[in-house]
Symmetry: C3
Subunit: 351 residues, 3 copies
């Protein structure tokens, strides 16, 4: 944490505007009440402006619509984003290659960069290619013919099955499986299931993060493809031949069936699912717990199961508790109406 940066450079990094002394130097990031004279702090909400004078920070990162005069500030449009960038800058540590631990087992014909860490009891198959600054944690199993790009980290006890390709800057968390067989069978007349060969692999782009205990199946033919920038939470399932578009977010326990195509920046809330063989357009948002069927155009906002327009679903869902009342009302109405109809029948109008 001995990094020091001038506000000028820091403002550049976060696309911010300095009000005050651009030559001030900071070497850390902290909350208002604990930041010291070498730290930059942050004010996201006008409520906290009153705490600024009492803070020991050297400067303040603030949302650009907050009024704050006196101290040196860096105004930004998205202080959450700016905070993440600044924190990452200060926390970033240079990669320290720890080499291949004696207890790791390496197969034949591998191409492994020297600048690497392979942990205790990790297993690397045959003909594996590992880029520079790759970190393979303890107990990981990497299958034959796997290719892993630079700066990628595989956490403990994860399994990368044979033939899969991972890009650069990827993180795979503990006990996740990349490349288990897809689920595909043809059933004979007796009800026995004959497995369809699963001959493809998994391709993972750059800067992808996949949580712990996920299952990403290999394709029947070709690839199951997780494109660059995708972030996947824990316990997520991706079926064979699916394609997850750039920068999509899949929250915990999401399930994507086989042959589903997701566009860019699609978001699936926790526990949501997508049935097989459908296309979901760019920027679609799916509420947690929903079940999506059929194709949906870009920008859809979906909820429910089968999912439809999210706004409409939330309105319908808010009325679900009134179903018993509604049911009673309709029964009463039917009775009243029956009485009434009797009363307005031609012959009853005689009088």
């Amino acid at each position: 944490m001995d990094k020091t940066i001038s506000l000028e450079k820091l403002a550049e990094m976060v696309d911010g505007e300095i009000v005050g002394d651009a030559s001030v130097e900071v070497s850390g990031f902290g909350p208002l009440d604990s930041a010291g004279p070498r730290d930059i702090s942050f004010v996201v909400n006008p409520r906290y402006v009153g705490q600024v004078p009492g803070s020991g920070a050297a400067a303040f990162l603030i949302k650009d619509d907050i009024e704050l005069t006196g101290p040196t500030v860096v105004k930004v449009g998205n202080p959450y984003l700016a905070s993440a960038i600044i924190q990452n800058y200060f926390l970033e540590k240079p990669f320290v290659a720890q080499g291949i631990h004696d207890s790791a087992v390496i197969g034949e014909g591998c191409t492994i960069d020297e600048d690497i860490s392979i942990g205790r009891n990790a297993v690397i198959g045959n003909r594996v290619t590992l880029g520079t600054r790759v970190a393979i944690a303890a107990g990981v199993v990497v299958g034959d013919d796997v290719v892993i790009g630079d700066d990628t980290s595989i956490r403990a006890n994860a399994t990368i099955e044979y033939g899969c390709e991972l890009g650069s800057g990827v993180t795979i968390h503990a006990n996740t499986v990349i490349g288990s067989d897809g689920y595909g069978y043809a059933t004979d007349k007796k009800g026995n299931h004959v497995k369809r060969p699963q001959l493809g692999t998994v391709r993972i782009g750059d800067d992808v993060e996949i949580g712990s205990n996920c299952s990403i199946d290999r394709a029947a033919f070709g690839v199951t493809w997780i494109k660059s920038g995708v972030k996947i939470d824990n316990l997520v399932q991706i079926g064979h031949n699916s394609v997850i578009g750039e920068n999509s977010l899949l929250v915990s326990q999401v399930g994507i069936s086989g042959s589903v195509t997701l566009g860019r920046n699609v978001v699936f809330g926790g526990k949501a699912g997508a049935a097989g063989h459908q296309h979901i357009g760019d920027g679609t948002m799916v509420a947690g717990g929903s079940g999506v069927h059929g194709d949906h155009p870009a920008g859809s906002q979906l909820a429910g199961s089968p999912a439809f327009n999210a706004k409409l679903w939330f309105r319908a869902a808010s009325l679900f508790s009134k179903l018993p009342e509604l049911y009673k009302d309709v029964r009463r109405i039917k009775k009243e109406l029956a009485t009434l109809t009797k009363g307005t029948e031609p012959d009853s109008n005689k009088g």
Copy 2:
């Protein structure tokens, strides 16, 4: 892929009928546009019949109701099934025993066939029995007293807990756990939970396939039983003492509670669940995402939560979006009816 087979034998294998020269020999299987003169190709849909003359294939597997004259064909009732059988035939490789890797650790008193592969850093407990052509991948842990039948394959980092029995031709995918403790507690007056002993094991029949990251719990007493021919997808949970009937299919993220009995050829769609202590009859189909409560007879088709008749559920679900409209209608009707009732009251008929 140097296997060669005559159409005569191939037709026998897939229960097909040859129209043309039964002595033609093929050694591969491929799609219409890339199949060569030693390949058999396939036509599932009449739409593609037009592409047949341009295809280089030696013969064609076709659905028996498609008209196709000219080339040699093998007519079958289920071309998907026939394709799977033929592909598996051509792809099948003889088992090559790789022996026990130096880094694997084998316990005492084991009975291990010579024709076997035990991978890098795999761990085999004490008194384990492994049949012929068993393949234990890298990082797998097999507990004490486990019995594994012939031709069974356990993929990387899976855990088979002590005392479990696996049949022949079983595949367990990476990071799956067979035989974790069942979830059972008795609660005292202070709200503390006392664990009930989980003394049973898991029994898995023949030709079962279980995906990655699944949890199959051991029984409290006796066995949790996955019967022969069952195919389980990824991230599936099976509770203690449950019995999954022959050839049942459990799609990804399904959860079966404790003491549930499923008949033969039951299908649970993705994310569906079954509450505890129930019996679900043969051939029951449960739609994805449903929650089944109570017993259901053979041949049930279920959806929803709690699940009921699937057709009815789909109709009800399709109307869920109309709930706000319905609610408004009923409110308006109530008002109109109030006015009307007033208008038809005896004294208002005076005029």
Copy 3:
């Protein structure tokens, strides 16, 4: 199983009342039909009282409202709880330290009690502290700076990430991950997601049990906290910074998002979920499959998604199948009412 205990001591253990000879000694526990003269058996339901005379058991554990004269009995309020306590007593085996297996790899600067078992190919990081009678199974990976209390057991292939703290008497089942990174990103204008640092850890109290294939994420700052006595089933997800109150029960496939606080003795049924940043009060019960949003006071009973009062939800859910009928009724009512309104309009009353 050579333990022997007098009924007097046994009754003390289960808070029971002896009717008969308190000096009788038993050394086992079994069902009515197989218990022998040194066993105690149990009668939970009056239906089984008739089988008592034919049973060979020395004494009987019975629910305190069951009438049973003749044999020696121990009356208890909760025979399930008493059974669990007695079974555990007879089954309990003293811990046998097996030491550190030759194939295990231990880091530097660790503090490891002598009375310990570390299994085959297990990996212990640097500066790890392991209490007395800790059992680390084969293939487990324990990260740097982890602290594990006395009598804690980690089953095969589980991963305990760096810096996490586990209490005493904890059991972590196979392939579970404690301390994977929390899921948190800030998104820039181009839609790229910048990771927020996940600097905290996971703290697990005493007597916690966590099933197989679970993912418990580390906090962004501070701790994700699983308090003492919590019991978690398989395939459960706990997000960063969440706090699970004492003795809470989370059934299989539950998902708790980030920054959720659960009180004491909360129960989440299978597949239920909680959205982020909410507080759920002591003793709240959530039905399986529900999705909880917002805060809920102690003692809430919730079902549905978004969840509301469980009783009301069950009533509403039981009417869901009647939605098509209801919809038809309302359409017919609207028509009838239209006719009727016409019929009662002033000018139609002319006749």
